[in-house]
Amino acid sequence: MRRRIPLIITFVIGLVLITGYFVTRAPFNTLYESFSDYFAIITVFAFILGGGSLLKIHLKRVSSRATDWHYSVVTLVAFLVTLVIGLFKVGNPAGMGGEILAAGSWLRFMFDGVYNPLSATMFSLLAFFVASASYRAFRARTKEATILLSAALIILLGRTPVGAWMTAWMPESLAFLELPNLANWIMAWPNTAGQRAIMIGIALGVIATSLRIILGIERNYLGRGE
């Protein structure tokens, strides 16, 4: 029951969604529409599961006084305060019926004042690391690495006005070699070719994996044991 029922559910849902894609008559269209809608609803519960899991892990860390447990307190307080503000729409001018991020609401303040700078800065750190990594690891050691490096440098220069300035001296007949034109050409043709080869490969992989999942051959998502 613990493994067979999930396999039956996967099979039925998968089959209905595939059939509904091709057959637009009742009952397939109705089931297709309903299951699609239910799927979206169930994914919201994944957010709740994520929040619950976070709460569980950090409560355990605090209660066991694990290393750096003080920071878990920060996470817990931040989580609970934001959750209460969000779920009860604290400070929302329109009350419980208003838009969740209405101007003046406390959640709006949490989003603009706290979430926004933290999220944006966290990702902006990558600018420093990508520069440092390029300096240390981007070497023309082999023929393949040299091709990669050359394409990257053409794109880096060609996508800025510097590229145009550097190659502005070229005669009209060689305009296609100007860095911006070269960069655009690389994006439109060799890049498209490579990305398309990868895309087709991924598509075949997704199709095969989806079939294996629906037919119950692929069961890793169920985890181990009964």
Binding site: F39, I42, F47, L54, T121, A152
Partner: protein, 224 residues
């Protein structure tokens, strides 16, 4: 909320995260843990109010929810929505060790749903149409029948590039002889692709840093 206060909080949190560039430190750890807590709760709150309330609770309990879902007024309950409600609750059993196995049922719905959605769409959009889009003339002529060298060369690069790239990913046969050469050309095409992707990634990361520096600039501007 006071704009100056917002600028100060924004700047303080930004500097806390940026302090990681020097080395790991308590300010960074504080900001990092704050981020985790706020983001998890934010996602839950938005998911609850923007999706669960109008699309589940408003349909299951219209009279109860009429205060927050105006469209639910006068509507009769749709009990079919008990199905996603039950599956959603089953997903949450993952948090209780004794009942965690029940969450597999909900997970099976999500996995089956994703597989059912993806199979025909990847087949259509990422396979059939991609193959179709690669079937282009290798020789391009203008209206008066003259050969367009540039366009023809580009088309050849695209068609051969896709074929060589696919051959490189074809591992069922050993890459020797002609296949080895084609596969090697495939690597070169992929290297150009990765080089272009790298160039674009640098561009993206710098843009994000620029945004943050502008925010710090606004804060400094409010002081001086």
């Amino acid at each position: 909320m006071d704009v100056t206060l917002m600028l100060w909080i924004d700047a303080a949190l930004t500097l806390m995260i940026l302090s990681f560039l020097y080395r790991d430190n308590p300010f960074y750890k504080f900001a990092e843990h704050l981020f985790v807590g706020v983001s998890a709760a934010y996602l839950m709150a938005v998911g609850f109010w923007d999706h669960l309330v109008p699309n589940l609770l408003g349909k299951l309990f219209p009279s109860l929810m009429s205060g927050v879902v105006p469209g639910a007024v006068g509507r009769s309950p749709d009990y079919y929505y008990l199905i996603p409600a039950v599956f959603g609750l089953l997903l949450l059993t993952r948090l209780i060790d004794r009942w965690a196995w029940l969450s597999r049922w909900a997970l099976a719905f999500i996995v089956g749903g994703a597989a059912g959605f993806n199979l025909p769409r990847f087949l259509d959009s990422d396979f059939i149409i991609q193959v179709q889009s690669t079937m282009i003339p290798l020789v391009v002529l203008d209206a008066s029948g003259n050969l367009l060298w540039g366009a023809s060369f580009s088309h050849v690069v695209l068609v051969l590039g896709v074929i060589c790239g696919l051959v490189y990913f074809f591992f069922s046969v050993e890459h020797k002889g002609v296949l080895g050469h084609v596969s090697r050309a495939g690597i070169w095409v992929l290297m150009v692709t990765f080089g272009a992707a790298f160039g674009y990634t640098v561009m993206a990361r710098i843009s994000l840093l620029t945004g943050r520096m502008e925010a710090l600039g606004a804060w400094l501007g409010s002081i001086f």
